[in-house]
C-alpha cells in the first residue's frame, strides 16, 4: 500500500496515471482482448465487439453529457449520421474506407453545429427535448433522401480494407474495433487533462465563473457538441459495418437511452465509469436472458419474442435503481471497494 504521492518534477504531475499497477493491468486487459478472437466462439466474440463499439459511442456522449453537462437524447442521430456518412461514399460511390471513416466523423461534427446552436440558450430538460427532436428529424431526412441513402431499403456495407490490411474476418474486425476504442479512450482522457477538457467541466459546474475565467461559453459548448458527434459518428460507422447493413431500423431510439444508461450506471462525469457502465449495460440483456431461462422455457420464449421491449424495461429499471441507490454509479462502488480493501479491518 502506498502512503503518499511523492513527485520530483512537474511533468510527473500531469501523467495520466502515476500507478504502475494501472498501466500493467490495463496492458494485460488490452492484450487479452487482442487475443480473445482466437479463443472465443463467434457468439461470445460478438459481445466483445459490441462492448468496444458501444464503449466508443458512449465515450462520445460522455464528452457532451458527462463532461460538459449538456444532456442529449440525440445521440442516436449522430450514430446514424456517422453510419450513413460512411456507407454512402463507400458502398454507393466506391470511395476508399479511410475516406469513409473520415466523413463518418466530420459529417456528424458539422451537423452537430446545427443542433448545437439551440443549446447555447437551452439547458436541462429543454435541451434534452430539442436533441430528441433532432434524432427523429435525422431519421426522417435519411428516409426522404432516398436518391442518396436508398431510403428504407438501406445500404449494405462490406468489412473494410484499411492501409492494406483486410478486416474481413471476425477476428480482424474485432482488432479494428479494439484499436478505435483504445485510441478514443486515450483521446478523451487526454482532452480531460488539457485546456479544452477543463473548460468543458468549468462550463458544466459554473458557467458565469467560467466566462469570467476567459472561457467563451458558446464556442466551448459547440466544441463539445462537435467532439461528441465526431466520436459518435465513428462508432456509428463501426456499428453499421458490424451489422453489415446500414438502415434507419438498425439504429432505434433505444440507443440514445442505452448511452445515457451507460453514463448513469457508470457514474456521470467519470471516464472509468463509461468503461464499467458499457460492460454492464451490453451484457445485461444477455444475463437477463440466462436468468429468465432458468425460470423455464416459457420465460425464455418471452425474451425471443419481445427482446426490444424487455431491453427497454431493463434499461429503465437499472437507471432508476442506480439513481435511487448508488447515484455515484459503478465508479462509486469501485472506490468504496478499494477503500475497504486498503483500510480493512478499520472502518474508514
Amino acid at each position: 500500500m502506498r502512503s503518499g504521492h511523492y513527485k520530483e518534477s512537474v511533468p510527473s504531475l500531469i501523467v495520466l496515471s502515476d500507478s504502475t499497477a494501472v498501466w500493467v493491468w490495463g496492458g494485460i486487459l488490452v492484450l487479452a482482448m487482442a487475443m480473445a478472437p482466437y479463443f472465443l466462439n463467434a457468439y461470445l466474440l460478438s459481445f466483445l465487439v459490441l462492448i468496444l463499439i458501444t464503449g466508443t459511442g458512449a465515450l462520445g456522449l460522455h464528452v457532451l453529457t458527462g463532461c460538459t453537462g449538456l444532456i442529449s437524447l440525440g445521440h442516436v442521430g449522430f450514430l446514424l449520421l456517422g453510419a450513413y456518412a460512411y456507407a454512402v461514399p463507400v458502398a454507393k460511390f466506391g470511395a476508399p474506407p479511410l475516406i469513409g471513416f473520415l466523413s463518418a466523423g466530420v459529417v456528424p461534427a458539422l451537423v452537430s453545429i446545427v443542433v448545437g446552436v439551440p443549446s447555447l440558450r437551452l439547458k436541462g430538460l429543454y435541451l434534452a427535448i430539442t436533441t430528441l427532436a433532432f434524432a427523429f428529424i435525422i431519421s426522417h431526412v435519411v428516409l426522404s433522401m432516398s436518391w442518396l441513402t436508398n431510403g428504407a431499403r438501406g445500404l449494405p456495407v462490406m468489412r473494410p480494407e484499411l492501409l492494406g490490411i483486410d478486416f474481413e474476418s471476425d477476428a480482424r474486425f474485432a482488432h479494428l474495433c479494439l484499436v478505435v476504442a483504445v485510441a478514443t479512450l486515450f483521446a478523451v482522457l487526454n482532452i480531460q487533462r488539457s485546456r479544452v477538457g477543463r473548460a468543458f467541466v468549468a462550463v458544466r459546474d459554473n458557467d458565469i465563473a467560467a466566462r469570467t475565467m476567459g472561457i467563451n461559453l458558446q464556442a466551448y459548448k459547440l466544441r463539445a457538441f462537435m467532439t461528441s458527434a465526431f466520436i459518435s459518428g465513428i462508432a456509428g460507422a463501426l456499428f453499421g459495418i458490424y451489422l453489415s447493413f446500414v438502415s434507419v431500423e438498425g439504429f432505434p431510439f433505444l440507443m440514445s437511452i442505452e448511452a445515457l444508461a451507460i453514463l448513469i450506471v457508470g457514474g456521470l462525469g467519470s471516464t472509468a465509469g463509461v468503461v464499467l457502465g458499457t460492460v454492464l449495460i451490453v451484457l445485461l440483456p444477455e444475463v437477463a436472458r440466462i436468468a429468465l431461462g432458468m425460470l423455464g422455457p416459457q420465460a425464455e420464449m418471452l425474451f425471443s419474442t419481445a427482446a426490444h421491449e424487455l431491453r427497454t424495461v431493463l434499461y429503465g429499471l437499472v437507471i432508476i435503481l442506480f439513481l435511487r441507490f448508488e447515484p455515484r454509479g459503478l465508479v462509486g462502488v469501485w472506490r468504496d471497494v478499494k477503500r475497504l480493501w486498503v483500510n480493512w479491518p478499520l472502518r474508514h
Partner: protein
C-alpha cells in the same frame, strides 16, 4: 500614465431599479482600493460591470487605457481583470489544481485535437501551466489540498482556492467580492497578508468589496463609499472614518449628530 481602471459615470438600471447610478471612480496602479456601503448599495453590481458579467446602461469603463464597452464578456480575463465571487463560484466537482488550471485558460492555446494527442506543444504548455499553479499553491499555503475535490473543502479553504484561481488569470486588477466574510480572525489576517503580498510581490492592483471594517481601514490605500447606487464619498481610510455622510449612510441620520468612528462599527 493614466489610472489602471477608470469608471466614468457608470449607470446600471434593471427596468425601474437603478442599482448603480452615475458612479465614477478610478483605481491607480499598485493600489489597494475598497468599495464599502450598506447592503443593497450596488457594490456587487458595480463589480459585475467591471468584470463584464453585466453591461452598463450608460457610462464608460476604461481599463488600462482601453474602452471595455465593445470587449466580449469572455475577453475581460485576457485583458487582465480577475475576480472572485461573493458566494463561491468554484467548479466544485473538480480538484483544487484543476480549478486553478482553469484560471490559466487565457494563457494557454491548445485546442481539442492538440489536447487529445497531448504531445509536443500541448504537453509543454500543460507543464508550464502546472508550474505556475504550483507557485500559486505555495503562495497561498494550500499544498495539502492540491488533489482534494473542491466541494469537500471548508468555506475558508474554498475562498482561498477562489483567490488562487483569480491569480492564475495573471490579472492586472484583482476584484475581491467580500473575501473575508464568514472567516474567523486568523483566516482574515491570512487573507489581509495575501492581499498586501499580491500588491507588493506581483504588482497587481486590488479592488475589494468588504464589510469587515478592520481590514478595510488597515490595508486599503483608498476607500470608495456607495449608498443606494450612488457614490457618496471617496478618500483615505482615516478620512472616510470621520466622514459624516458615511456615518449617516451606515447608522442612520440621527446618529450623525453624535458621530462614532466608523472603524469602531465592527468591534
Amino acid at each position: 500614465m493614466s489610472a489602471l481602471l477608470e469608471i466614468q459615470g457608470a449607470t446600471k438600471a434593471f427596468r425601474g431599479l437603478v442599482a448603480v447610478s452615475d458612479v465614477s471612480l478610478s483605481v491607480e496602479r499598485g493600489e489597494v482600493c475598497s468599495v464599502i456601503g450598506p447592503n443593497g448599495a450596488g457594490k456587487t453590481t458595480l463589480f459585475n460591470l467591471i468584470s463584464g458579467v453585466l453591461r452598463p446602461t450608460s457610462g464608460r469603463i476604461v481599463f488600462d487605457g482601453k474602452d471595455m464597452g465593445r470587449v466580449p464578456s469572455h475577453r475581460f480575463a485576457a485583458h487582465g481583470i480577475g475576480r472572485t465571487f461573493q458566494n463561491l463560484a468554484l467548479f466544485k466537482h473538480a480538484t483544487v489544481v484543476e480549478n486553478l488550471l482553469v484560471g490559466c485558460h487565457t494563457s494557454l492555446r491548445s485546442g481539442v485535437f492538440a489536447g487529445a494527442v497531448f504531445f509536443g506543444r500541448a504537453r509543454r504548455e500543460e507543464i508550464a501551466a502546472r508550474e505556475q499553479v504550483e507557485e500559486i499553491v505555495e503562495f497561498l499555503e494550500i499544498e495539502e489540498l492540491r488533489e482534494k475535490v473542491v466541494g469537500t473543502l471548508s468555506y475558508g479553504q474554498q475562498k482561498r482556492v477562489e483567490l488562487g484561481r483569480a491569480l492564475a488569470c495573471r490579472p492586472k486588477l484583482l476584484l475581491l467580492d467580500e473575501m473575508v466574510s464568514g472567516m474567523n480572525q486568523e483566516e482574515t489576517e491570512d487573507i489581509a497578508r495575501f492581499i498586501l503580498d499580491i500588491r507588493d510581490d506581483y504588482g497587481i492592483s486590488v479592488l475589494m468589496i468588504e464589510h469587515n471594517m478592520r481590514i478595510v481601514m488597515d490595508i486599503s490605500d483608498r476607500v470608495h463609499v456607495l449608498h443606494f447606487g450612488q457614490k457618496i464619498a471617496e478618500g483615505a481610510p482615516a478620512e472616510i472614518g470621520r466622514d459624516d455622510t458615511v456615518a449617516a449612510a451606515y447608522l442612520g441620520p440621527a446618529t450623525a449628530k453624535h458621530p462614532r468612528r466608523l472603524a469602531d462599527a465592527n468591534r
